[in-house]
């Protein structure tokens, strides 16, 4: 089994959806998560607050500096993520399709470093 990160690319510059649509999105997303659990593919899920609540801690010269905001001030920010386990990329992409349709945002699919043979 391989592990994949399904990261939600959330566009913070887009207008916030209506309350009703937001509830529907969350319900659809919960459904996909439930389906993942049932299939034995689910490892972790988490939704994230927007970048206004983000802080970066940077190392340098043996010490650290703390700054407000995300790594980069871009429109797309990490909005939440799933960690899943499955046999191959095709299965991961099948979940990513469901996630994208449920939450209405693009999903980036990244494999984890494979520890099995390391």
């Amino acid at each position: 089994m391989k592990k994949y990160l399904l990261a939600v690319q959330f566009d913070e510059s887009a207008p916030w959806p209506q309350e009703e649509e937001l509830q529907a999105q969350m319900a659809r997303t919960d459904e996909v998560t439930a389906e993942m659990r049932q299939a034995g593919s689910w490892v972790f899920v988490g939704g994230l607050l927007a970048s206004h609540a983000t802080t970066v801690v940077r190392p340098g010269n043996g010490t650290t500096t703390v700054t407000d905001g995300p790594f980069a001030e871009t429109k797309e920010q990490l909005g939440g993520f799933w960690v899943i386990q499955c046999d191959d990329l095709d299965q991961a992409l099948a979940w990513a399709e469901k996630c994208a349709l449920a939450c209405g945002s693009p999903i980036e699919v990244r494999p984890f470093v494979d520890a099995q043979w390391g």
């Binding site: 391989k2 046999d87 191959d88 990329l89 095709d90 991961a92 992409l93 099948a94 699919v109 494999p111 494979d114 043979w117 390391g118």
Partner: protein, 396 residues
């Protein structure tokens, strides 16, 4: 057959089978190359089943090599090989493996350019240098593209299998697109370079393999029909001094009768199935073009109407307009062309120029030819358009 011929015919098949046995494309390629190096030393003449010999030798060489190495890939591959230890030793390339390889190479998670390069390298057995020359790009660029793609296949876990029924239509479409683009790349460059012709022949060969592997997929049959009927006209498409000859002016005695007969038979097979798709319809259009002494334009137009329904793109609409001109006259066709938006595509102004010429609107035709000449990417097409434009200005 000489060793070069065997290499070209068997390389892809052997790598596909070794990829299943070893679980890694890179290891499979090394093993197959090792085996061919052994063949150069050992063969006075080729054995009766050269593919079987290469696969067995490659497998044995791979086992030796893996025993010497202790990387994690080597341990993984060794585990796979041990797993299959009870398999019969004397096996040749397996046809299903090639089908798996086609779907892996044309996976939508790879960039379109990587799909083409991988398909030509791993299925066609073309060398990196040959691919680079055919696409007029530096060798290092092709090499890096292939290395990156193979790394992604391994790291991202792109599977080595034929997709599920649910995914098959989309995934097959991606495979057909790659083969179609390989053919087109060879066909649209009319500079007469041998290697470009190689691309056409390679696309035909792979399309033939695919149609043989998936005889129940009408679009795979349709693509083969389309490529054969297009390839059949290639000898008549370029004149004695390298100039482009349009369909209406081609010497039909130069067409390849055998390929046309085969293409027509494939189109009839598709018609009997009656599950039309874009490649089958394009094959049918080309069957009409190659049937009898002249094109039956009303039939071509009817097929374009269907094609536009299946693939509503401006390029299909532009080609349909050419048939409209033949059936309903240039004025109606021009109105259809003027509704299209195809920025940067030289065949739009070229088609307008031809229609304007037929309508006697010479000044506008000259302007449209100028626009087309400025956009044309290929010398042969540019020369063709310049000659057409020259006819207009000398007639004045």
């Amino acid at each position: 057959m000489d060793l070069d011929g065997i290499y070209r015919a068997e390389y892809g098949r052997c790598v596909a089978t070794l990829t299943r046995l070893l679980g890694d494309i890179g290891l499979a390629e090394e093993a197959v190359q090792d085996a061919f190096a052994v063949a150069v030393q050992k063969w006075d003449e080729p054995p009766p089943n050269p593919g079987g010999w290469i696969v067995t030798t490659a497998r044995n060489r791979a086992i030796d090599r893996l025993r010497r190495e202790s990387t994690r890939e080597a341990r993984h591959a060794q585990a796979l090989l041990l797993h299959q230890a009870d398999e019969p030793q004397e096996v040749g390339p397996v046809r299903d493996d090639q089908l798996r390889m086609i779907f892996t190479c044309c996976h939508p998670a790879l960039s379109p350019l990587a799909r083409t390069a991988l398909t030509l390298r791993l299925l066609g057995g073309l060398e990196v240098a040959e691919i680079a020359r055919a696409y007029l790009v530096p060798e290092t660029a092709v090499f890096q593209r292939i290395v990156r793609a193979k790394k992604k296949i391994r790291d991202a876990g792109i599977p080595y299998r034929v997709p599920d029924a649910a995914d098959l239509p989309d995934r097959l479409a991606s495979v057909l697109t790659v083969l179609y683009l390989v053919f087109n790349e060879g066909y649209t460059s009319t500079s007469g370079q041998l290697l470009r012709t190689d691309l056409c022949l390679e696309a035909v060969r792979l399309a033939r393999e695919l149609a043989g592997l998936m005889p129940d997929e009408p679009e795979a049959i349709g693509l083969l029909g389309l490529l054969l009927l297009t390839e059949a006209r290639r000898p008549a498409r370029v004149g004695p001094s390298g100039e482009l000859v349009v369909l209406a002016e081609q010497d039909r005695s130069l067409w390849n009768r055998e390929l046309i007969a085969e293409g027509h038979e494939l189109v009839r097979r598709c018609l009997r199935r009656n599950q039309p798709g874009p490649y089958q319809l394009q094959a049918a259009i080309n069957a009409v073009h190659t049937d009898g002494p002249a094109t039956d334009w009303p039939q071509v137009l009817a097929l374009y109407d269907q094609l536009l329904h299946h693939a509503p793109t401006p390029i299909v609409a532009l080609n349909r307009a050419v048939a409209v001109a033949e059936v309903h006259g240039p004025a109606i066709a021009l109105a259809a062309v003027d509704e299209l938006d195809l920025p940067g595509y030289h065949l739009l102004p070229a088609t307008r120029a031809d229609l304007l010429t037929r309508l006697g609107r010479t000044a506008e035709a000259v302007a449209a030819y100028d626009e087309a000449i400025a956009l044309a990417a290929n010398d042969t097409e540019r020369t063709f358009l310049q000659a057409r434009r020259a006819r207009l200005t000398t007639d004045d």
